[in-house]
């Protein structure tokens, strides 16, 4: 169920080199249908992305998350909102809830705090 893809900044650059300028001003580079988390602010550095839930992020991204994007696809009955929690298995309090199409480039409070997330039908 869980799908985790790790994209290095170098690989991302190679894949999008021709469009780097166009995409930097556009939507964050996050596949449709997925929730993406970056180690750096403003959607930079290494990226993790999931199409499903993850109760405990892998160590390289947990508590090092700095920007987020929800590119979930909506539809009747589909869980398209994402809730991020500061502890594994949705513990310790929710830090942010994002509807589809919403992005956070930086968060002074929730920076480097995320440990898990779930998809939900609403916030």
């Amino acid at each position: 169920m869980k799908r985790l893809l790790v994209t290095t900044a170098a690989a991302l650059f190679a894949a999008t080199a021709g469009l780097a300028l166009a995409t930097s001003a556009g939507a964050a580079e996050c596949p449709s249908g997925e929730f993406c988390v970056w180690q750096d602010s403003n959607f930079g550095g290494q990226r993790a992305n999931w199409s499903g839930d993850d109760g405990w992020w892998e160590s390289w991204i947990s508590d090092t998350d700095s920007s987020w994007a929800n590119h979930g696809i909506s539809g009747p009955g589909i869980k398209d909102h994402v809730k991020v929690y500061e502890s594994a298995w949705q513990g310790g309090g929710m830090t942010i809830c994002l509807a589809p199409g919403q992005e956070v480039g930086y968060n002074g409070a929730a920076n480097d705090r995320g440990d898990s997330h779930i998809w939900s039908t609403g916030c």
Binding site: A27, I73, S74, G93, M94, E103, V104, A109
Partner: protein
Amino acid sequence: MLRSAAHIRHTVLAASAALLLSGCTAVGPGAPGTPGVPSGTAAQDALLKGAEHRLVVDCLNDQGLSLASRPRAPDEDRTLRAALFGAGPRELSVTLATGATVTAHQDGCLATARHRLYGDQRRWFRAQVIVGNLRAEVQARVRADPAHRAALDRWTRCVTPPDRPRPDRPDPAVATRCGRESGLDEIRARLEAAELVTVRALRRDELTAYRQLRDRALRRAAELPASTHPQKGPTLS
């Protein structure tokens, strides 16, 4: 005695949390008396989501795009994302009390669909983001409270074995026992209930806007014709 008191507090907290969870919608009757608008929150959510989805699908189809064809090549997916979520500068932006600045594009099929349903896209974005994150705002206030910090320190000492570093994931049974013994559970429950009242008062205007715009969208969704393509006229600014 203490434990049962704590249990009652937990029950109260659970009820408060349930209220807050449905807080997005438990702020009014929801377009009462409008034909085609159901009374239950879940049915209303389904109506709104279904209407938004129809508008988005039609908008994408007008551009020769479809959500159905998967998997997509990276370039195709990028094209779809730009059409769906928008491109260029992020015109919509709200900074939450938690410090997060949530942004979105004002163009794209999703934004266009929401504009048609909710009427005032900027106002809806602001209300939805703030109301959707009331719980996060409550949690941030609880975390900042000195009593909570002190209890969390006690909890951390409690779950840390002697002569060993703090475990990344304490044994669940130990974590539960320490939550009780450190007073963290009780303090968290008390603070969450109190902060919920405070935050709902602080965000009263956004809660009102959320209810008004949602009611409008419910009426629009119920009246949505079979074909959702925009009629001629100034439906979109």
